[in-house]
């Protein structure tokens, strides 16, 4: 428990740093940490029910394009279009869920992988709506309570609030009865079913929630950067949020946050040497899988219960 409190305190201090410093560049990185952290949390929900989804990037894309188009074509204020696009992404997940989530294991990964590829190709091909590979320019900036969040320093509190909200939501979900059901689905599906749990409905519900989260993160991203193109929604995003989860650790909702804080700034630090950034990514992923398969949080948090267990055993 103490390790968790310390980790949360460290994260809280880190979250405050960009506000104190007020540096534009630092704030930009901090916003990306928050948005990627949300996407990683949305994948974390799926991993928790034992489904490795490579389709979270699809909901990120529908959120992004949906909100950008609603604000550009219909003139909706971004604050409204982000919410609407997020909900639309969640509904899309709920609609796809019954079809996709009947499939399990490797085949589910293949299915979501193919879906993400198709959606990206369609974004490239539908030049009339999405602007094709050229993308969408001049997406309006987000405005909340009359304050225009055009600069990274002003956008950061909003992004941080979103992340904290998502984290608190995920935490509440995992700790509730629903969390126990999720765990039972992951650990023994047949047993859960025999106890009267409608496994498919639960999976679809979680998928919908994760789609909502990814959609809102994607929509916020569109209004933060002001430009989106299919190149922002590739397999690389799916891999990144997976690496964040693996390195942070899947078993705790703190895992994706710690992973995001460690990994998202990496491309910025190694900006002039992209090849080394890729190298570090690959080595971290291989190293963690081989030596710490439960990630940083698994390593930090599970030691004390194990020690207790040993004490009891001896």
């Amino acid at each position: 428990m103490r390790a968790r409190v310390v980790a949360l305190a460290v994260l809280a201090v880190l979250a405050a740093v960009p506000i104190w410093v007020g540096d534009r560049y630092l704030a930009h990185i901090a916003v990306m940490v928050c948005l990627m952290g949300m996407l990683a949390l949305s994948l974390n929900m799926m991993l928790r029910i034992g489904q490795l989804s490579l389709a979270q990037v699809v909901f990120m894309a529908t959120g992004s394009y949906g909100s950008a188009l609603m604000s550009m074509a219909w003139g909706l204020p971004p604050a409204a279009s982000i919410v609407l696009a997020g909900i639309a992404s969640g509904i899309l997940a709920l609609m796809l869920g019954p079809l996709l989530l009947r499939i399990r294991g490797v085949y589910f990964v293949l299915l979501t992988f193919s879906l993400a590829q198709i959606v990206n190709l369609i974004l490239q091909d539908m030049t009339g709506v999405t602007g094709g590979n050229g993308g969408l320019f001049g997406i309006p900036r987000l405005e909340i309570l009359g304050i225009r969040l055009a600069r990274p320093e002003t956008f950061y509190p909003y992004a941080l609030a979103l992340l904290v909200l998502s984290f608190a939501g995920a935490m509440a979900l995992y700790r509730s009865r629903a969390g126990a059901v999720m765990q039972s689905i992951e650990q023994n599906e047949d047993l859960s079913r025999s106890l009267g749990v409608n496994v498919l409905a639960w999976r679809v519900g979680i998928f919908g929630l994760s789609g909502l989260l990814a959609g809102i993160a994607g929509a916020s991203y569109a209004h933060f950067i002001g430009f989106i193109s299919p190149a922002s929604f590739t397999f690389a995003i799916s891999v990144n949020i997976l690496v964040i989860n693996v390195i942070g650790g899947v078993a705790s909702p703190l895992g994706p946050l710690i992973g995001a804080v460690l990994l998202v700034p990496l491309p910025e630090i190694l900006r002039d040497a992209q090849q080394y950034q890729l190298l570090v990514y690959g080595l971290l992923l291989i190293g963690f899988l081989a030596f710490f398969p439960r990630g940083i949080t698994g390593f930090l948090f599970s030691r004390s219960p194990d020690a207790n267990q040993e004490r009891r055993d001896t």
Binding site: S114, L278, L289
Partner: protein, 304 residues
């Protein structure tokens, strides 16, 4: 789409060549590119059959094969065929090392094995970026000229690649069906525990299977290097193709990989000629979607 299709056919009838030549050209192109897909898919499906691992690093093995050919043949003037053979051997060695060092611990834990393969793919790409740089580099064509037959045009180098692929596919099939090692490999794919009880050295067979799969991918890369160019990212598209082919044919099925490769080659060639390459890719992923949803075992796989 509809308008484009009509325009395309109109163009055909106005043009110098007729409908039958158009279709024949599509078929020839489809079979020739299908053969390369088969080379990639055989290794991909072999690894899945033996180790239940979806190898996302397969495209990088293809890229390593092409890069070795670039360095040996393109930069240092080694004989092309020697370069391809060396590329295959070297990559096979790398494959065996990867299997022994990294994959072995994930046998039968599908998801972590798959994530590990992603890590290896990223790592190998980074190494290639550091060694070769990000630019596309051309490799001089060892074979030039085209063969014209009726209205069909076939470049000699594509024909050569297709022929090489065919020979290797047949050799691989004979190896699998007629040698002790090949049979051992098949038994491990069917049931590794029973195979172990029968005295098959499962770990040796796995390492060998990975080496063969890597070698096949490297040959494909080496053969294609002069036709396309060489770059660290070149493996991504062939990996996707192998992936589509293997899901269509059935994960782990060898006949499925052959049939799937030819089908995907033909479908793609048709879509690419009538529409465009993006439409062809969308079509092939749509096939995967339908197959996984309706019949996850693919055309030739065991029904799970």
């Amino acid at each position: 789409m509809r308008g484009r299709l009509c325009a395309r056919f109109q163009q055909l009838y106005d043009g110098a060549y007729g409908m039958s030549e158009f279709i024949a050209q599509i078929v020839v192109n489809g079979i020739l590119s299908g053969m390369v897909y088969v080379l990639m898919a055989l290794g991909f499906t072999l690894i899945f059959g033996i180790m239940r691992i979806v190898n996302f690093a397969h495209g990088e093995l293809y890229m390593i094969g092409a890069s070795v050919v670039l360095v040996l043949y393109g930069m240092n003037g080694v004989n092309y065929f020697v370069a391809v053979a060396l590329a295959a051997l070297l990559t096979a060695g790398i494959g065996a090392l990867i299997e022994i060092g990294l994959f072995r611990r994930f046998v039968k834990t599908e998801l972590n094995g798959m994530i590990m393969s992603l890590g290896i793919a990223i790592f190998l790409q980074a190494i290639a970026l550091i060694v070769l740089g990000p630019a596309w580099q051309a490799v001089e064509r060892p074979i030039t000229g085209t063969w014209q037959f009726g209205g069909i045009v076939v470049p000699f180098d594509r024909l050569f690649v297709g022929a090489c692929a065919l020979v290797i596919i047949i050799a691989f099939y004979v190896f699998l069906k007629c040698t002790r090692l090949g049979l051992a490999m098949q038994t491990v794919a069917q049931d590794s525990e029973t195979a172990a009880l029968m005295g098959v050295g499962v770990s040796h067979v796995s390492a060998l299977a990975f080496a063969i799969a890597a070698g096949l991918a490297a040959v494909a890369g080496g053969l294609m290097a002069p036709i396309y160019s060489v770059a660290p990212y070149m493996g991504e598209l062939p990996m996707l193709k192998a992936f589509v082919v293997v899901v269509l044919g059935g994960l782990g099925s060898i006949p499925g990989a052959v049939a799937g490769g030819l089908i995907i080659g033909l479908v793609e060639s048709g879509f690419a000629s009538v529409f465009n390459n993006t439409a062809a890719l969308i079509a092939s992923f749509a096939i995967v979607l339908v197959i996984v949803l309706v019949r996850p075992s693919g055309l030739f796989g065991k029904v799970i």
